[in-house]
Symmetry: D2
Subunit: 353 residues, 4 copies
C-alpha cells in the first residue's frame, strides 16, 4: 500500500503518517519524489487500511498494491480448475453447453426442451424454479415443484441440471435436487447466500453482478471457496452500460482477463447479455473464440416459430445450429466440444464392452 | 403497449400479430404509418408481454407505455407519505438527519457518537451490526451484540435507531431491536429479503441498487408495499458510473424525479455517494436544495482529528457544521429541519406543563 | 510513478526494470514488500511512461502518482480565478445566471427572450448560432446571421453573449461577436479547436465531455490555459450513465471536487443534464448549494404555455421563478446573486453622479 | 411517433395535442387505452418533434418509432457494402487486418514495422501522424512529415495506408497521402470534420465515440454518406464503462447488431478496447467469430521484447501469431482472410502472364 502525500505537505505531516503506520503494526518506507513524498506501507495490509490512512493530515490518496482475492487467484493456484458434474467436465479444454428454458413451466415443455437440448449435443439442462423478478406482480416460478420437474427431465435424458437459488433458506432444498447451484446476477453480492452455497457441497455457477467489477466477482467467488467448496464456475452475463440497443453489454474483455487472473472456468451467457435471440449465436461464438469454457443458453420449444417465452430464447432448431457453429470455432482455438451425453455413454459402454 | 412492425413487414405478418394479440385476450388497434405499421395492444398488459410479442414475425420492437409500479406511484397516491419513527416524522416538509458510525464497534464509541449526533441536532442514530463486505476476510460486524449496543444508545439518548439487515433469516431479530430496517444497495434486488421486511411491521429504508434504475428502485419498493407495509423511505446513495474520482456518482436528478413519480420520502446518503468526507457537506446541501427529505451521514468520534474509520466519515465537529449549514438551505427551499430530539421533548413538556 | 512487480517476479526482472528506469534518465527506488516488490520512479515523469514501463518483463501494473494538469490546478494556483465579462464577474462568491434559447431562430424571438432574461435578473444571454446536431438532417443553426442577431440583442439589453463554436475555422468569426466562446460537450476533446480558442483572446466556457472524466476535463482546460488564455469557465452538463429516466446524470459530486482540484469557476447546466424542464430548477438549486458559481439555462419565450422548442426549456415565467428561488439558496451558502445588469448600471450611475 | 398522455389527462388536453399535431402538418390518430390515451403522429416526422410535443399539457412521454439514419440503414440498402482500397476489399466475406504503430516515429521504425506487417500477412499499414492527446504536454505527432514517412512505407511494401485526421483544415492534406482517412473516437461527433471527410473522396474509417450509442455512430456515418461518400468503414474500439480492469469495454454485441442494422463493414480495434496486449489476440478472435470484417491492431517493432511504446502494442512476432490464429477462426465462421498483399500481386501477375 502506497500513501501519496499532497504537494506541499509539511515534514510534520509526513512524519505523522509514518508514525501512525508504525503504531498500527506495519513497517513504513519513505520516498522523496520530485513533486511529492510517498510512504510505502509494508506488512500484511488489508483493503480497509487504505480508507483509514486516507484521512490522515497531508495525505492526497492511498494506492492499493495487493490483490484482495487469494483462493480464486492464479498466482496462488496456477492450474486450471476442472469442475466435474456427473459425466461432464467444465474447464480444461472442453466446451460445455448448457441449455433450457428461462423458467420451468409444464413438465411436458421441460421434457421436450431437455430432449431437444440433448439431441442438439447440449450437456446440461438449465431452468428456473425460483425466479428473481423485478416486479412483485410477475410469475416467480414453481419453486419445489419446478425442481421435481427438472429432476424428472434429468432422469429421462441423463442431462445434469442447473438451477438458481435465491434465498439462503432454500439452499438445502435446491442442493438436494440440482447438480449445479446457480447464483444470479442480482445475488452476486448477497453474502449470506454465498456463505450458504459455500457449505452446500455442490458446484456453484456464479454470475457476475449487473455492474460488478472483475475484482468484486472474484471476491464473491472467494466467499464460496473460503468455505472449502472449490467447484466454482464463473459466468459472464453482460454488464450494465449506457448502451440501450442491447439489454446488457457482453464484456468479452473479461473472458481472457479472468482466465489470466484466476484458475476457475468461465462460461458465457449470451442470452441475457444481448436480450435478442438474433445476437445470441454470434456473441456465443465470439465468447468461445476469446477463451470461454462454455455457454449457457435459453432454449424454448416453440416448433412453429410462433410464441416463445422471450425475445432472447433460441428455438431448438436454432440451438442445434448454434452447437454446430460452435464446434469448428472451438477447434479453431484448440479446444473441443465436450462429447454429447449420449455419445459419451455409448463410448463408455463400448470401451467397457 | 405498442408493437412496431419492421419497414417492409408483410400484410400477413401484421395480421398475424393482430391475431396473436386477440388470442391472448387483449384488444388490438392498428395504425398505418408513413414508414411502418404499428399495432397498439389494449387491456391489462404486463411487462413480460413485450418480450413475448417481440418474437413474432415481422416485429421490430415493442414499446411499453404503462408504468409497472402501482402502490409506489404518485399517480395512484398523490399525497406525500410521512413515515413516523418514534418522535420523528420523515417526509412532509421536515428535513431529518440520521448519523452514526459505519459499523458498530465498542459500546463506548457508539454511545459517544450517539451523544454527539444528538448534541448536533441529529434525529436518528445509524450503525451497522451486520455488515456487507466485498471480501470474505473483512470484519462483518458484531451481529446481535451490535444490536444491543445500538439499543443501549437509544435508551440513553432517545434517538431512534436504524440498522441494516442482510439475511431474510435475521429480519425478525433485527426488527425486534431496530426502529428502521435498512436494505443496502447490494440487497436492493434481494427479493426474498424484500418480502421479509415487507412483513416485518417496521419502517424500511430502501437504498437504490449500485446500478439500479429508478424504475427498478420503485419496483423494489413495490415489493415491500405489496405486503401491506406502507412505511418505505427511499435512499439515493450514488450510482456506479465510469467516473472514478469519487466512489460513486450521486444522482441528484433522481431526487426531484422520484418525488414526482412517487409519494414516498427520499433521503440522501452523501457519505457513500462521494467516498470523500470533504465532499459530504456540499453534496448533502445540494440534495436538500433539490428536494431531499433528509440525510444519512457517517459520523465517527475521533476527537483529535487523528484516525477515523473511513475516508468518508465526518467528525462530530464537522457533522455539527453540516447540520448548521443544512438549516438555512432547508429554509431557502421552504422546509425546516425537524426539531432536535431534546428540543421536541422539552417543547412537549412545556406544552403539557 | 510506482512500478508494481508480479508476485513471484524474479530478481533479474526487478533489476531489469531498475536498469531501464535509470537508462531512461530517471532515478529508481526499490521497496521489498511482503508479497511483491515495487520500484518507485523519481524525476519528471510523464503519463505515457506508465504504458512504456508496463510492458517490461515481470511488471504487474504501473501506478501514476502525479496529477497531469498544472495550470488548472489549485496546487499551483490556490486563488479562485474570477473571469470578467463586461460588467459581469464569474467566480469569487457571485452566482451568475446565463439564459437564452437553445438555438437562435428569429430576431424577434431572441430579442424577446433577451428582454425576459434581463427582466428576470439573468446576467448573460446564451444562444446557439452554430448547432451540433446528432443527425445531418436536422437544422444546424443560422451561423453568422445568428451571431448578428445575438449582437443586436446585446446592443439593446446590455447582456453579454455566449455562443458555441464548433469548427476551428470559425473561431475568429465567433470571437469577433461573442463575449464568451462556448465549447460543447461533443468538442471537449477536439484538440484543434481547444488550441484555437486558447489563442482567441476571449473567455471560454468549457463543457465536460459526455463521458469525460474530471481529469480529462481539467486537461482540456489545460490546453486552453497553455496558450496563455486564463479566462476558462468550467461547465458541468451531466454525464452519460446507464440511467435513461433522465437525459444525462448531473454529476453533483464534480462541483465540490473540481473546486478543490482547480481554481477555475464552475457553472452548472441543468437543462441538458436533466432533459426535463420540471427537473431544471431543483437541480439548479442543488448545484448552487453544492458550490457552483452559476447556471446556464435554456429559456424560450412561449408566453401561452403552448409549444416550446424543447422539453428542457423554461418559459420566461419559470426562469424568473428559478432566479427568485436561487437567491435565498445562494445566500444560505454564503454567496450572493450577481447584481442584475440594469441594477448594476443604475448603481454605477448613482455612484458616478 | 407516439404521444403518451398522463393517466388522468383531461379530454381538453388530449384534444389540444391532437390539434397541435394537425396544425404542424401531421396526421393524428388517437387510441383509448385502459390506463391512458395515446396519440399517434403520422407523416414525415423528425427526431426533434418528440421534444416539441413533450412540452404540451397533459403529455407524459413521446416515443420515437422511426430510425433516424437512412443511407446507413440496411432497410434502405440490403446489400453489404464492400470498400475497395487499392488491392484490398473490406467487407463481403473477407477478413482484413490493419497493423502498425500507434504513432509514426522514425522512418526506420515505420519501415521495419511495415515490412513485419506485410510479412505476417497484414493488409493495410496504420500509423498516426496527427495524434489526439489528452494532455497538451504530450507528443502530438510529426504531422505532414509523418504522412511522408507512411507514404514511403507504402511505396516499398505496397500496403495501403490509413491515418487519422483531426482538424477539418487538414483533410485535404491527409487525403492527398492516405488511402483511408481515420476519424478517431474523440472526433466521432465532430460534425465539421465529418462534413469535410464526406467531401474528401477517400474511404473513411469511423470509430465509435468513447460513449457513443449505436444510433449516434450510424448517424455520424450518415453525415459522411450524405455528402455522397459511400466508402465508410465502421470501427468498434471499446466503450467507456464502470469497469477499470481494462482500458475500455469491447462491445462485442455491437458487431452483429450493427451488421443487422447497416450494410457497412465493421472492423474491430482490440488494442484500444483492452489496453493490454495480452488480451488483444483473444478479443480479436472473438470479434471475428462474432462477425467483424477485419481488425486494426497496434504493432511495434521491439525485437528484443524490451521496451515497446505501449502496453497495448503487439510485437511483430505476436502480430504474426494473431494472424495465424485468426485464419482458422475466420474459416470456422465461413469467411476467409483476405489474400496477403504479396500473394495477391503474384496471383495477379500469374493470371496476367
Amino acid at each position: 500500500m502506497i500513501v501519496v502525500m499532497r504537494t506541499g505537505a509539511t515534514e510534520a505531516q509526513v512524519l505523522g503518517v509514518q508514525k501512525q503506520i508504525r503504531e498500527m503494526g506495519f513497517r513504513d518506507h519513505r520516498i522523496h519524489g520530485e513533486e511529492r513524498n510517498v510512504v510505502a506501507v509494508l506488512g500484511h495490509v488489508y483493503p480497509e487500511l487504505a480508507d483509514e490512512l486516507a484521512t490522515l493530515d497531508g495525505v492526497d490518496t492511498v494506492v492499493r498494491i495487493s490483490k484482495p482475492f487469494k483462493l480464486a487467484s492464479r498466482e496462488v493456484n496456477p492450474y486450471d480448475t476442472v469442475v466435474k458434474v456427473g459425466p461432464v467436465e467444465i474447464g480444461g479444454g472442453n466446451i460445455v453447453v448448457m441449455g433450457g428454458p428461462c423458467s420451468v413451466d409444464t413438465e411436458e415443455n421441460v421434457l421436450e426442451t431437455a430432449r431437444a437440448v440433448k439431441a442438439a449435443g447440449g450437456h446440461i439442462l438449465r431452468g428456473g424454479a425460483f425466479k428473481p423478478r423485478t416486479s412483485p406482480y410477475a410469475f416467480r416460478g414453481h419453486g419445489e415443484k419446478g425442481l421435481h420437474i427438472l429432476a424428472a427431465a434429468r432422469e429421462e435424458t441423463g442431462l445434469p441440471i442447473i438451477t438458481e437459488v435465491m434465498d439462503p433458506r432454500d439452499v438445502g432444498l435446491v442442493a438436494k435436487h440440482a447438480d449445479i447451484l446457480q447464483i444470479g446476477a442480482r445475488n452476486s453480492q448477497n453474502f449470506a447466500l454465498l456463505d450458504e452455497v459455500g457449505k452446500a457441497g455442490k458446484p456453484v455457477l456464479l454470475k457476475r453482478a449487473i455492474s460488478g467489477t472483475i475484482e468484486e466477482w472474484l471476491l464473491a467467488a472467494e466467499y464460496i471457496l473460503s468455505h472449502g467448496n472449490r467447484d466454482v464456475i464463473l459466468c459472464e452475463r453482460g454488464i450494465r452500460t449506457y448502451e440501450t440497443a442491447t439489454r446488457f453489454t457482453f464484456d468479452i474483455n473479461a473472458i481472457p482477463l479472468v482466465k489470466r487472473l484466476s484458475h476457475l472456468p468461465v462460461i458465457a451467457d449470451p442470452s441475457h447479455a444481448t436480450g435478442k435471440w438474433q445476437l445470441v449465436t454470434p456473441v456465443a461464438l465470439g465468447a468461445i473464440a476469446a477463451g470461454a469454457d462454455g455457454l449457457i443458453i435459453e432454449v424454448h420449444p416453440s416448433p412453429d416459430h410462433a410464441l416463445s417465452d422471450g425475445a432472447q430464447s433460441l428455438t431448438p432448431a436454432n440451438f442445434t445450429k448454434l452447437i454446430e457453429a460452435a464446434r469448428p470455432v472451438a477447434e479453431a482455438v484448440g479446444k473441443t466440444l465436450a462429447p454429447a451425453i449420449g455419445e459419451r455413454e455409448s463410448k463408455i459402454r463400448k470401451i467397457a464392452g
